[in-house]
Symmetry: C2
């Protein structure tokens, strides 16, 4: 009675068609497709031949429906225009492709994590990698932590019971502070941002604490909080800082684009980098190594972070109730021309000192 009306994908050959053509049952076709060993070679050949001839492709919806999984992973990134995210996506996509999974991407600028969480609950994706939460609390109420296949990448939310992977941003901030002080910088400034994200908060905090510990400190007028994390913000911030009676001789920017903005802004006002002003960024995006900026920055072990995030996510999909893991990887200070390519004097920054 009921007629199907749904349009099917173009080449609508089903496993039943294959079965008929190969003179076997649909079950056997399914077995061949799933590489079940219990099929006689001759039969397998016959089926494979028909499969090839008909250019059969299994219906993904039916398969997902039956199997209860989509073989897709969702990824939420912040602003795609910030180079770190494309790099991250590229790594995630490559690794997922190798594992036979697809990648559905959302930009958190357009709706935050909600669409991704929704997709997770609908089974569109088997798991979600959240690399940014517009507002941390917003998605907390969306996802009951109950064994959800969610992993936070490059973002820590302490009171949220999901797997989390990040690099040690506190330590990254510390490294920069110790480096600048060890190299004799006297007037050190910080261009930060609205601390929506833990990463930014930690970078700033690690930096400040290290400065305090080293007896340098960060006077309020050497701190500029940018509205967003754009090049224009960096320019604006550096302009303010350079207008001070005693302008800084080194600036740490909590990400590379801010740093590049600061550098362009400083140069635009006639300052020379690094002769008059040192600038340090964070993330080591691709451009940072280009001649025009040649930016000293902190590099996060992106490939490993992505690898661990994916491992954790896939493990959780198989075992929802396993205890959650928080990974925190070490990162690396990359010294380039924006700080005169100058290495810190040996033993100046004792590695053991933390916090």
């Amino acid at each position: 009675m009921a007629r199907a009306t749904g349009a099917k994908p173009a080449g609508s050959v089903t496993s039943h068609d294959i079965a008929r053509l190969a003179q076997v049952s649909q079950a056997t076709v399914s077995r061949v497709l799933r590489d079940d060993p219990k099929v006689r070679p001759a039969t397998r050949e016959r089926v494979l031949k028909v499969l090839a001839e008909t250019r059969y492709e299994p219906n993904a919806a039916a398969r997902a429906f039956r199997a209860g999984r989509a073989d897709s992973i969702g990824v939420v990134v912040a602003r795609l225009s910030y180079q770190l995210y494309p790099a991250m996506l590229e790594a995630i996509g490559a690794q997922l492709a190798r594992l036979g999974r697809r990648m559905i991407v959302w930009d958190s600028d357009h709706g935050g994590d909600a669409p991704a969480i929704r997709a997770l609950r609908q089974g569109v994706v088997d798991g979600v990698i959240l690399t940014a939460a517009t507002s941390e609390s917003e998605f907390l109420r969306e996802v009951p932590a109950e064994g959800s296949a969610v992993v936070l990448l490059n973002r820590i939310v302490a009171d949220y019971a999901s797997d989390q992977v990040s690099s040690d941003n506190l330590d990254g901030g510390r490294r920069v502070a110790e480096y600048l002080v060890a190299c004799g910088r006297k007037r050190i400034a910080l261009i930060g941002g609205i601390p929506r994200a833990s990463t930014i908060r930690d970078r700033e905090q690690g930096f400040r604490k290290a400065l305090d510990r080293l007896g340098v400190g960060l006077p309020p007028h050497y701190y500029f909080r940018s509205e967003n994390f754009t090049h224009a913000s960096g320019e604006q911030a550096v302009t303010r800082l350079m207008e001070l009676a005693s302008p800084p001789d080194a600036i740490f920017c909590v990400n590379d684009v801010l740093a590049m903005g600061a550098m362009d802004g400083a140069r635009g006002r006639g300052a020379r980098v690094p002769d008059d002003l040192w600038i340090v960024g964070y993330d080591d995006i691709e451009i940072a190594s280009w001649g025009a900026y040649d930016l000293t920055t902190v590099r996060q072990p992106m490939e490993q972070m992505v690898g661990q995030a994916i491992d954790l996510l896939l493990a959780r999909i198989d075992a929802r109730e396993a205890p959650v893991t928080h990974k925190c990887l070490a990162n690396e200070l990359v010294i380039r021309g924006s700080t005169g390519r100058q290495s810190p004097p040996a033993a100046a920054a004792p590695k053991k000192a933390r916090r």
Copy 2:
């Protein structure tokens, strides 16, 4: 007899459960979900209440299975590390989100278009936007042109019967040539690339033809073919060009990253841009406007191109057999500091002259 084994998404509430709780039939629940007007307000309320209480989410696989569409669109981009592509993805993602579609992303570096085409044939996605074909012929044999829901964005394959959207790369190249000549540049060079993609070919060809027509021409030693389209290639290319007995006084690079590499390379060898050398890029990626480069370049109407591509794709999904469309949008020369911010003398480049 047969037992279902597939793991279901966490909150496995079905429309049948809702029906039972709301004392209606499953069909009515479905009607409420699909906003069917033929439901009495009171009934609708009752169902909606239960839906909210149970935090029900429809099973996407079942829905896709039944409806015959996935509500997802596939996008193949070339290298995510080239800033044009994240920008494009951002635009595509935003527009698709507005239309209630998801975006599955593949990087053509890892498998070309094949995975996307496969996904299309399996019904994982309803349509595919191809922004790059590793090899044009490779995917031609994969997709029978038969009303496939495929649109080429920023890529033209003349003999392939699919919808295609691009900007006029021939004209872009022409504009640059005419601009440089009109501004009195005498020794004009070109940094191109391996012409796998029509875009690159057209930019080069438009440029060359215009130079020829203007009686300037492009001598072979002023042409450098880069292996890939990276910053390093640009540096390498400019180094070669500057080693010439008579180095160029202007270089057109077929994309911005090449141009930035060329600029950094030139500066590294002591040349001043624009005083000694003009440099022009193509694409107007975000960095191009930053102080360090301030690059004159050709801007493509990205938002419109994306909009048109999506429109064409969605239209085709509904009408597979409609005649194919090729759209070619005009682009714009953005003059910045890398060419001294110098406008062409009026009437120097007659707009009508083409080819």
